[in-house]
């Protein structure tokens, strides 16, 4: 008997006339509503915090939303600090830059999150309703996905990953420096130190667990067996990658909390408890 041959073109015909955009009976809207709510809350807070242009530095802590501070305006934050390690006067943006220095740098970590494969899923579902949930019809008449401008720009995620890796290193540096006291001596630890350390760890894990990182480390290989070290590294990143969603959320909340903590200490609203 001859083997069956697939038709050259799919047969066409009418779909079943099933009523409603979905017959799902579970609360499918809860997950996108919560995710969208948290993302929107972060967007509102981060925008507000980024435009404050104040209370982002409290010796020896600096807000992760303002690090690295690369404008001359950061001198204002440096005044009173014995050391300038957190806010180096790089001189890239001179006195003519009058607004918040956070605006200069946030595009990189935000771009990394906006083009992140996990966040894409989240905001496509929550905000664009494309689709709002599995097997729930989307409201749009046409759909081209990520094949056209502007969504084709999602393909630059890898470049934001490179920048995010640099930012994770800088945040780690800030966390290490927070073990120095106000007189630039090692041996200090306050609650802010723990907050900045948590931020550095979560940000680094989120960055390393990224799908682009997984591809660069070893995913692009065809022969795992010919590259045993990269294969091993790929295995480690793959284990982290399974938790990319959790790391994305935790790192997002922690970075906002870190900024809030530094802001409260810098404004004198709370006092930083010191362990030693």
């Amino acid at each position: 008997m001859a083997a069956p041959v697939a038709p050259a073109q799919p047969r066409t015909g009418a779909r079943a006339a099933i009523p409603g955009r979905t017959l799902r009976t579970d609360r499918w809207w809860v997950s996108p509503a919560i995710s969208g709510g948290v993302l929107a809350a972060f967007a509102v807070y981060a925008t507000w915090a980024a435009f404050q242009n104040s209370d982002y530095f409290a010796r020896p802590y600096i807000s992760p939303l303002y690090s690295p501070c690369i404008a001359s305006i950061c001198e204002r934050a440096r005044s009173g600090a014995v050391h300038g390690i957190h806010v180096p006067s790089i001189g890239i943006f001179g006195p003519w830059w009058g607004i918040s220095p956070a605006i200069l740098i946030l595009i990189f970590p935000l771009g990394f999150r906006i083009t992140c494969y996990y966040y894409r899923k989240t905001y496509y579902r929550s905000f664009w309703l494309s689709p709002p949930a599995c097997a729930v019809a989307e409201p749009h008449k046409r759909y081209t996905g990520e094949t056209r401008f502007p969504l084709i720009l999602q393909n630059i995620h890898r470049y934001f990953f490179y920048a995010a890796a640099l930012f994770a290193a800088l945040n780690t540096y800030d966390a290490v420096v927070s073990f120095r006291n106000t007189r630039d001596q090692w041996g200090h630890m306050g609650l802010g130190t723990l907050v900045l350390c948590a931020n550095a760890v979560m940000l680094s894990l989120y960055t390393v667990s990224c799908h682009s990182c997984r591809h660069i480390i070893g995913g692009r290989l065809k022969h795992f067996s010919k590259h045993p070290i990269r294969f091993k590294a790929w295995g480690v990143v793959s284990k982290l990658n399974k938790h990319h969603m959790e790391l994305a959320w935790v790192s997002l909340v922690v970075v906002a909390l870190a900024d809030l903590y530094v802001r409260l200490v810098a404004s004198g609203t709370i006092h930083d408890p010191r362990f030693f």
Partner: protein, 250 residues
């Protein structure tokens, strides 16, 4: 313990149809497909349903149960709210033939369009010797039972019939990924899958992964790696400038 189960099953064909109510006795431990068989046996002998193994391995009994794409043979009745009717409809994305049976030939057409395994000129000719780590990578994709739940739930074609020509779908993409990751395959399908098979239309909302009865990580292990490979060759200026993007990965 036996009890009466209320079912609402879509009955009809391409010219139209409706949800029809049934009540059948079922036993503890049974699955939705058992209940459908009870309907066939006791209430409506002409009810059309496609099934075979009743063990989640043949991929025949795909349908939508309470609006969720799943295999009827793996949908245990005890997981549904007691006392509430269970609604069973055919797969929405494909043309209906009759009742719960749809025409899934779309998927075979897309499968036939995948360029077959092509031995690399650099590699030793068949029979190939592969290391276990290389075998395991594509082994996950070989678990596919072709139930086409992923194709059915993908909103790219589920909500947009006009995209069917341009979009191969997640089932095809895991085949492309499997071949691209094969150590002895020498064909470069990266531009093809992006430019002619609609990989860029996928917005990675992961519904294909959610419904896969074989728990294949379709999005994380096949579609996203393929998107990254496409970035290598199409959207990475560093690789483009170094001309390495034109070469096959090592």
């Amino acid at each position: 313990m036996a009890y009466d189960l209320k079912l609402r099953i879509w009955r009809g064909d391409a010219s139209g149809g409706e949800l029809v109510d049934y009540s059948v006795p079922v036993d503890e431990g049974e699955v939705v497909l058992d209940a459908v068989h009870h309907v066939q046996a006791m209430a409506s002998g002409d009810l059309a349903v496609r099934w075979n193994c009743k063990a989640g391995k043949c991929g025949s009994c795909s349908a939508e149960v309470n609006g969720r794409p799943r295999l009827m043979c793996l949908a245990r009745l005890s997981t549904f709210p007691p006392g509430e009717p269970i609604t069973i409809t055919p797969l929405r994305t494909f043309p209906v033939i009759r009742d719960l049976v749809t025409d899934v030939s779309f998927n075979y057409v897309k499968a036939a369009q995948v360029p077959a395994f092509t031995p690399s000129k650099d590699q030793p000719q068949a029979p190939f010797r592969m290391q276990q780590v290389d075998v395991e990578r594509s082994q996950e994709f070989r678990k596919c039972i072709e139930c086409f739940l992923c194709q059915n739930t993908c909103h790219v074609i589920r909500d947009h019939e006009d995209n069917k020509e341009a979009f191969a779908g997640p089932r095809s993409f895991i085949r492309y990924a499997e071949l691209e990751m094969h150590p002895n395959d020498g064909l470069d399908r990266r531009r093809l899958v992006q430019e002619e098979r609609g990989l860029g239309m996928c917005n990675i909302t992961k519904c294909c992964t959610e419904v896969c009865p074989e728990s294949i990580k379709i999005t994380d292990n096949a579609i996203i790696p393929m998107k990254e490979r496409v970035v290598d060759v199409k959207y990475d200026p560093v690789r483009f400038l170094s001309r390495r993007g034109r070469t096959k990965p090592g």
